[in-house]
């Protein structure tokens, strides 16, 4: 169900503009453009107005117009193209094109916008638009915008861009932007007729070591048979760089999968590892956490200054919701079954069924949308060109933070002390005045709450649906058993090992077989070490 | 002289750096009755565990006749002819007295053999005889779960008898027994010892005296003293660590 994004799309109010579209900047450019326009010869004015009606036509007309507007160098084109990109350009039935505010793009006069409709885009238009805007923005005073323009030209390159870029490079002061421009220049030179420049470009692209450069080189190889050897050398250079990067990325992917497993398993490491309770509803607690995230997000939606913080706010909320559910489950049901782990297992399976259906009835069976905040979107470039996705990076950080939190809670708090006391000797702990029932409830609530926090992370990468939990329960148990029941170190090492092994195997075996191999490997491993990697010795291992 | 039934030499067991047994050596001859005493944590139960295969020694030799016990699992060791009675009487609570004894009865132990097993008249007579001996004939069809502590001790001794082992390891057999029962148990063990070797671990010195056997004193995982009860009671080292307290 679409609840929130429709409001966003309407664009009337709270939707924050991406940074490069800041209004002041646009006005600045507009003013700059107008000044230049006044100084321009009449021929260009004609070409500009001549290109405009195409924007009111079909997609291919629009694309052609956009390309024309891009090469004209006419500053009036910039606001038109920008409006087009933002979906704010309108057209009327008689073929006039209107800027936002109902201004006729050709005349600059206010026009009747009543019957106008928005000009729609398709990918071909978007592609043309990117190249055109890139060319126009190469002179932008904003470095980030120039950088983006260089990247856009890199993708849209054509021979005509060569002089444009050469001029821009000469002007450029920012080293990072300059490097992008140099690369874009190489890309453009690759399709330009100058043979000498082309050879240099091949070498430069090879040194860049990027997958995009590789694509360009291979594309050029077909049309430049005489340069095949040089291109092959460059491609081989890129491939070498890429293979190292790929290994690093695989490692990151493994750690990322591992951190999700860690989060899902940490709560289980407490409830199963410390208390010996097999909670088959554990996955449902993760699900509750994800739904808590959704509810907090919805609650924050009305308050614009709060909305970006909904995800951090969800963490305590998810913890509390799942912990409360856990405490109720422990006090109400599980405590009657201590010492009967198998019955607990079956009973909690029934509880899981009930929780799932309850959420389905309350929230509907459809997926719920949890939006990633801007700081969790996109890719982060690490040194060496290793690309890591932001959301997964944050989940790794979150996983480590939760682990530290758990360790700290067990080591350094009164509750942790009482918990350890009860685990080691319930009777003696009771005689020393520890209310063991309360400690049991708190411990279980703590483990469940951690599962809830895992739900916050999972909501960023997976479906938020009533079935969410079922996908994590078996993996979590495998992590805990593999790592060693009752050992947090074991859970950490177990989760990360399984994640990395899975990701290393995946390209060779496929996603399914990789997982099957891992499961079989764990089963065999447990034959050798029935107590797991980091076996606890002594009393806890006896059960 | 015939070879010893049980031969332990330099046996050590280390748990997490703690030495439960420390170079223990012990020889038990055929038909011998041996009492073992020692303070808590002296390694008595660990020694039993090593002999019966529950715990693997870190170092040392453990032999039963010619068999190297360190290479065998519990079931194989039991089938060689070593029976064990636990400190805390352990049996199968869901089964009756009769069934517990039937399971202990020396017979083929494989699953198919058990499936085909038919209770012959002779086997029934043996079980009934043992039930008489341990005084549980009247409770033959009661589930073991409902027996009193003393009766459970007797049932476990009965199970030991049914196994017909060559070597009996008996851990604190008279805890929870009346004086009369204790005497009866002592007499029973002495009687058995003629034909079999018996190792008894016990705290109750009166009982040990009643056995009239050679006594080994363990302390901190190794042998402290060995000899008659009078000999060890007068050994100053024994007095210091054990009796003196």
């Amino acid at each position: 169900m679409r609840t929130g994004a429709a409001e966003h799309g309407g664009g009337a109010g709270g939707f924050p503009a991406p940074p490069f579209l800041k209004v002041d900047m646009r006005q600045l450019l507009l003013a700059l453009g107008l000044m230049l326009w006044l100084a321009l010869p009449a021929r260009a004015q004609d070409a500009f107005t001549a290109a405009l009606p195409g924007l009111a036509g079909g997609f291919s007309d629009i694309a052609t117009s956009v390309e024309q507007l891009g090469v004209l160098g006419d500053p009036r084109a910039l606001p038109v193209l920008r409006a087009l990109q933002e979906g704010r350009l309108q057209r009327t039935a008689d073929g006039r094109v209107l800027l936002p505010g109902g201004i006729d793009a050709a005349t600059g006069q206010a026009a009747d916008a009543a019957a106008a409709e928005t000009v729609r885009l398709n990918n071909r238009v978007r592609q043309a638009l990117r190249g055109a805007l890139g060319r126009l923005q190469l002179v932008s005073p904003d470095a980030a915008e120039r950088g983006a323009a260089a990247e856009a030209i890199f993708r849209a390159r054509s021979a005509e861009d060569v002089p444009l870029l050469q001029a821009a490079i000469a002007r450029e002061a920012d080293a990072g932007v300059r490097a992008k421009m140099v690369l874009a220049l190489a890309a453009a030179q690759l399709v330009a007729p100058d043979e000498e420049a082309k050879r240099a470009a091949v070498a430069r692209l090879g040194a860049a070591g990027a997958a995009e450069a590789r694509a360009l080189l291979l594309e050029a190889r077909a049309s430049n048979p005489d340069m095949a050897t040089a291109i092959d050398v460059s491609v081989a250079t890129i491939d070498r760089a890429l293979s190292i990067r790929r290994a690093a990325e695989t490692l990151f992917q493994g750690l990322s999968l591992g951190s999700v497993l860690l989060l899902a398993a940490l709560g289980l490491a407490v409830t199963f590892g410390v208390m010996g309770v097999i909670n088959m509803a554990h996955g449902e607690f993760v699900m509750l956490g994800a739904y808590a995230t959704f509810v907090v997000q919805e609650a924050c939606r009305g308050t614009p200054w709060l909305a970006p913080w909904s995800l951090p706010l969800s963490v305590p909320a998810a913890f509390l919701v799942a912990a409360a559910a856990g405490a109720v489950l422990e006090r109400g049901l599980i405590r009657h079954l201590y010492g009967r782990p198998l019955e607990t297992l079956l009973m909690t399976f029934g509880v899981g069924m009930i929780l799932q259906q309850a959420v389905r009835v309350a929230f509907g069976a459809q997926n719920r949308e949890v939006i990633s905040p801007a700081w969790m979107q996109g890719t982060l470039m690490l040194p060496g060109g290793v690309a890591v996705t932001q959301n997964r990076l944050w989940i790794i950080v979150f996983g480590i933070a939760v682990l530290l939190l758990v360790v700290a809670a067990i080591r350094f708090t009164r509750f942790g002390l009482e918990m350890r006391a009860v685990v080691q000797n319930r009777r003696i702990a009771a005689t020393m005045g520890i209310r063991t029932g309360r400690v049991d409830a708190l411990t279980f609530a703590f483990g469940s709450g951690i599962a809830g926090m895992a739900g916050v992370a999972v909501s960023q990468i997976d479906n938020v649906s009533p079935n969410l939990g079922t996908g994590y329960i078996i993996d979590s148990f495998m992590v805990v058993v593999f790592g060693g029941v009752g050992s947090l170190t074991g859970t950490l090492v177990g989760a990360l090992t399984l994640g990395v092994v899975n990701k290393v195997l995946e390209p060779y075996a496929g996603a399914v077989l990789a997982k099957v191999f891992v499961l079989v490997a764990i089963m065999l491993f447990i034959q050798r070490r029935p107590r797991g990697l980091f076996a606890l010795k002594g009393r806890a291992a006896e059960s | 002289m015939s070879e010893p039934v049980l031969y332990l030499d330099g046996v050590s067991v280390v748990f997490d750096g703690f030495k439960a047994l420390n170079g223990l050596s012990l020889i038990v001859d055929a038909g011998e009755l041996r009492a073992i005493i020692g303070p808590n944590g002296a390694g008595k139960t660990t020694m039993m565990d090593v002999i019966t295969g529950k715990t693997r020694p870190t170092a040392g030799v453990v032999r039963f006749r010619r068999h190297d016990l360190t290479k065998l699992d519990e079931a194989s060791i039991a089938n060689l002819g070593i029976g064990r009675k636990f400190q805390k009487p352990t049996m199968f609570d869901a089964l009756t007295v009769f069934e517990n004894l039937e399971l202990a009865l020396k017979a083929p132990r494989g699953p198919l053999a058990c499936l085909r097993w038919v209770l012959t008249g002779e086997a029934r007579r043996r079980i009934e005889a043992v039930m008489e001996e341990v005084g549980l004939a009247a409770r033959a069809h009661d589930r073991a779960a409902i027996l009193s502590h003393g009766q459970r001790q007797w049932l476990e001794i009965g199970m030991l008898l049914m196994q017909d082992p060559e070597l009996l390891l008996v851990d604190e057999p008279v805890a929870g027994m009346t004086d009369q029962e204790t005497e009866h148990t002592a007499a029973l063990l002495v009687r058995i010892a003629g034909r079999r070797s018996v190792v008894v671990v016990e705290h109750d010195l009166e009982f040990v005296r009643a056995l009239g056997s050679k006594v080994t004193v363990l302390c901190e995982g190794s042998m402290l003293s060995e000899g008659s009860i009078d000999h060890v009671q007068n050994d100053p080292r024994v007095v210091e660590v054990y009796l003196g307290r």
Binding site: V516, I522, M523, Q527 | K54, A75, A94, L95, L115
Partner: protein
């Protein structure tokens, strides 16, 4: 004794179902076609429950992967049924099943050979689960993996099999599995006669499984299993090789489950990897818990009552039945540790 009488009565009623179905519809004793068609399925579930009870109720082996053995048996007979379709498939290939034609197989994979013979397929329906149980059981029991650890391992086993069977490249039809069966032993399926025959075959299997299980549980082996269940290490010190005994009963149980699966598939007309899903295995264990484990009658009672309840509730309360069923599982484990059968025996005392 009373339980046995109830059991005999129940079997007689079951046996009479197809006959009662022939009565005119207005007769009070008339049983609808629908009941007859699902009763056959329930019987195979009951056999699965018996198999689980033998391992769990008597030997204390709580396998959360018995659904895997059931499904493997089903796949074995499913392969046979697929072979029997022959040139009647959509693409008219004389040997290859449709899905293989479709995925571009040129010839049958080696592991499909022999399944055109019914005795071979039935043998495989027992042997494949048996061998798998043997290997997994040997490894697990030898390493003394017990209790919840064993449950988790067996659950992972069925999960891994589910993932593997979902792959189309395995040659078992992927997610769609096998459907569109035509005949078995010369009888066209999807006729009342075939359903009757399969129903009685299932009933025979149930009786056979009951006989084997009670033969085991009433022998000394049964008492050894109980001994192992309650005090495994004590049984070892008595000289019982626990690994062997557990393995014996686990393999036997897997083979019974495999046979149940083999009769299940022709009756429901489909086998697909969903049968391996861990939830299915847990549900089957819960039938046993609901009925009362450690008594064979309890397993049967549980399988029939839970499935009847599920059939009824999924129609009368399609949105709420999970609450009812989940609540039942919770209530039974909390208040009726000995299951429904515990109610009866309590009443007897």
């Amino acid at each position: 004794m009373t339980l046995r009488l109830v059991l005999i009565g129940a079997v007689l009623v079951l046996a009479a179902l197809p006959a009662l179905n022939r009565l005119p519809a207005e007769n009070a004793l008339h049983v609808s076609d629908f009941i007859v068609s699902i009763a056959g399925k329930w019987i195979t579930y009951a056999v699965l429950a018996l198999a689980i009870d033998l391992a769990w109720g008597y030997a204390g082996i709580l396998s959360l992967g018995h659904g895997a053995f059931f499904a493997l048996g089903g796949y074995a007979i499913g392969m046979h049924l697929m072979r029997l379709i022959g040139p009647r498939g959509v693409y008219g290939h004389p040997v290859l099943p449709d899905f293989m034609v479709f995925l571009g197989y040129k010839e049958l994979p080696w592991y499909w050979l022999g399944f055109d013979h019914f005795p071979f397929a039935i043998l495989m329906a027992m042997l494949v689960p048996g061998v798998l149980a043997g290997v997994v059981g040997y490894l697990a029991f030898r390493s003394r993996i017990t209790g919840v650890y064993l449950s988790i391992i067996t659950q992972a086993l069925t999960y891994a099999l589910m993932l593997a069977f979902f792959r189309n490249d395995m040659g078992f039809g992927g997610n769609n599995g096998f459907t569109d069966f035509k005949e078995l032993l010369g009888m066209p399926l999807n006729t009342a006669a075939a359903r009757g025959a399969l129903f009685y075959a299932s009933l025979l299997l149930l009786l056979g499984a009951l006989w084997i299980c009670s033969r085991v549980t009433r022998s000394k082996l049964g008492r050894v299993l109980v001994a192992i269940r309650d005090a495994e290490s004590r049984a070892r010190f008595l000289g019982y090789d626990v690994t062997q005994h557990k393995l014996f009963v686990f393999v036997l149980s897997a083979m019974i489950a495999g046979l149940a699966g083999a009769l299940y598939v022709p009756q429901v007309g489909i086998i697909n990897p969903g049968e391996f899903s861990p939830g299915n295995s847990i549900e089957a264990v819960i039938w046993v818990a609901v009925g009362g484990r450690g008594t064979l009658v309890g397993a049967l009672l549980g399988a029939f009552s839970v499935n009847a309840l599920k059939t009824w509730l999924t129609t009368v309360a399609p949105d709420l039945w999970l609450f009812a069923l989940g609540g039942l599982f919770v209530a039974v484990t909390l208040f009726l540790p000995r299951g429904l059968i515990g109610l009866f025996s309590r009443a007897q005392r």
